[in-house]
Symmetry: C2
């Protein structure tokens, strides 16, 4: 597989391809053309062929792509087969919602445990995930191993301090759902933010400009 100079824009399209291929596979579709993918996804067929060519040759001219093979290749590129471990910090409403409803394992992540400071939550389980006191993070990581990613659902005012602590404990990936920008001076720490407002504003534009 060649993996050079892949732009952020291509990377951000890969999960969408993965979702569509997953849907096709559920419908027992065996092969798909770039034209069909194009009509389903709103990218041009040439854009799709170009995206896939960044990673090597998946398709065969005139025959389209094998759905299962292409899905597996994309899942490997996305690192879904790496056995990543993840923890969730901050079990408020949003943390609850994620633990109850979000399929971490379908994204290739094993949910190790969650942390909160609320004594009424500590020691309980949500959907099979045990909640520990946030003071115990170092101990829990020593026992279970340091996770690859921490999901941050904590209040804004503690988010950066907590991030610094987690980085010090060796956590190098952050899924940031706190709605504030976080950063680290340690090289190689990755942050991915969810900005719900960007999505709602895009909808606002579309209903305003018809």
């Amino acid at each position: 597989m060649k993996k050079q100079n892949i732009s952020d824009a291509v990377i951000r399209r890969l999960p969408r391809y993965y979702r569509y291929l997953n849907d096709l596979q559920k419908k027992e579709t065996i092969r798909v053309s770039s034209n069909l993918l194009s009509s389903k996804m709103g990218f041009t067929a040439s854009q799709i062929r170009q995206d896939f060519s960044c990673f090597g040759e998946f398709g065969q001219q005139g025959y389209g792509y094998n759905v299962e093979d292409l899905k597996r290749e994309i899942s490997q590129i996305l690192g879904m087969d790496r056995g990543h471990h993840i923890v969730l910090v901050g079990v408020g409403n949003l943390g609850h919602a994620l633990l109850n409803n979000f399929n971490f394992s379908a994204c290739g992540f094993a949910m190790d445990c969650a942390f909160d400071v609320d004594p009424s939550l500590v020691g309980t389980e949500i959907n099979g995930t045990r909640i520990y006191h946030s003071d115990k993070m170092a101990e829990v990581f020593a026992e279970k191993g340091t996770p690859d990613v921490a999901v941050l659902c904590v209040p804004k005012n503690v988010a950066q301090k907590l991030t610094d602590q987690l980085v010090e404990m060796g956590v190098m990936g952050f899924w940031n759902i706190t709605n504030i920008e976080l950063n680290s001076s340690v090289p190689g720490v990755e942050f991915e933010e969810i900005h719900l407002s960007d999505s709602l504003l895009t909808l606002s534009y579309r209903i305003s400009n018809k």
Copy 2:
């Protein structure tokens, strides 16, 4: 303002510009150059100038952009000044989290009310938003006016049926947080989906390919 042939990619960048300009304004920054925006946001300065030129001339060569003016222009383009009304359907953990934590009014939306089928929620308020029984939607809309957008936080198995009902009542915009694809055969209905998994998979790629 000229508003022709604006690509979806440009539209999706506008909320990010808005966020950064908002941050700059909070720091009492008066003017900003496309070079500074570029270094903050990771787009090229030429990309930024090109994006803004889609909507007319905001900047002046060599002087940069006035932060307040540019923010106001972008907010108007995004329709944040249109007085949009919104309701939330499905007050589970995610619905609770949004009502408690998400700033709808900062996106230009007035939150009219919420709906759920759980009798223990009906009649209560969350963060000032009254919850009605989902059976009463038509009555409530008759009284308060039909909202521009419905936020859908309902279980997957009822999402499409509920969407069809809401479209029939005149709702033309859907902020879809159900994690399944929804659609409508009625022309002009707009759907905007949040795909949390796309975001986590992007992070998975980045921690896997270092």
